[in-house]
Symmetry: C2
Subunit: 208 residues, 2 copies
């Protein structure tokens, strides 16, 4: 009993999980984006949404730009983790069609998580059109994705111009993402369209 | 001289061109959207950008929603006029592939005008996800476009599922529009991809 009281009386240095705090701030940022768009994002508004002081937000992020950069990292990491999990379920090495499909379905807003992410990725496109660093990161990421898809399409050997087929496939996925967000399509239609385009580019799905 | 003086002395009711005034306000709205995004749009900011009083803006538009609705009309009318001009250059009735292509190139941001429009259309998608009336209009417009493209694809008779091919084609065009806006593609690449997809759906372009 005495020991227990002592333990509670001594102020223990609080273990602050910095990563957790950053994620808390990033989650607040997404809520601000979701209700007011990217233009509503400011250190002040995000602090209010996270229920912490603006000084604490500034301790982690020096500027709006840094905060948006971290939010982009977060989205990329989440997409990357889900993609890796999908790839782990495929034979090694993964068949080209399945490897590409595993990525593209991660960027389609087929559930609440991916819907938030897709909304934010379109906001990043809009932000990138105006601002410098975010746009550069978007372009680098897109170039890497295009290189990967082109290599996979080339490996499958079903079309004469893998680069063009890759550009088309990524455009289909992002167009479907926009149409899902806008409510012009449902999830089933979007997946059917994506699979049909994958069939054109890789040949029909051989099945499991 | 006396007559001239008289004419100038008598206050002549000013001929206000209401359409011109509305367009002036709409142009100011686009400048506000271009610099601060849709979330920056308010009657006050648009009045400031147009260099007119907020009372005058309110004379033409009772609410932000009405103003956005008018701005959507404007974009639709401009796209429609350019499409009609393209169709007028085609044989009557226009060949299905050419009729669809004539529309889809109007929504690709291939020049400054269409870039502003594409940026605003993506902003309307984002706005429509949150708000009611704008989203309904976007969905109605998309359903009409899909119906038109499906009919043209069906008339060409080159694919077994015209509805699916139409959804894909519109997704390709909107995906390319996003990628052009983001600077991932140049105009030449985008048009090549669109034409390749049109070839898949309609069969190769027979040429002029």
């Amino acid at each position: 009993m005495a020991k227990g009281r002592l333990r509670h009386a001594v102020p223990v240095p609080k273990q602050v999980d910095h990563e957790q705090r950053r994620r808390q701030i990033a989650d607040a940022l997404w809520r601000v984006v979701g209700s007011g768009g990217f233009d509503a994002v400011s250190l002040r508004r995000v602090a209010a949404a996270a229920g912490i002081s603006m000084g604490l937000v500034q301790h982690y992020f020096g500027s709006r730009e840094q905060m948006l950069g971290f939010a982009m990292d977060e989205v990329e990491e989440r997409v990357g983790r889900r993609w890796a999990a999908e790839l782990a379920r495929l034979p090694d090495p993964p068949p080209p069609r399945a490897a590409v499909r595993a990525f593209l379905v991660q960027v389609l807003p087929l559930d609440a998580t991916r819907r938030d992410e897709a909304f934010s990725l379109f906001a990043f496109v809009a932000e990138g059109v105006r601002a410098g660093p975010i746009g550069d990161r978007m372009r680098t990421g897109m170039a890497q994705l295009h290189e990967f898809v082109t290599a996979q399409v080339g490996a499958a050997g079903a079309v004469p111009d893998p680069g063009l087929a890759a550009t088309t496939l990524i455009a289909v996925a992002d167009g479907l993402a926009a149409h899902l967000l806008g409510g012009y399509l449902d999830a089933g239609q979007a997946v059917r369209v994506l699979d049909a385009q994958l069939d054109l580019v890789f040949g029909p799905d051989p099945g499991p």
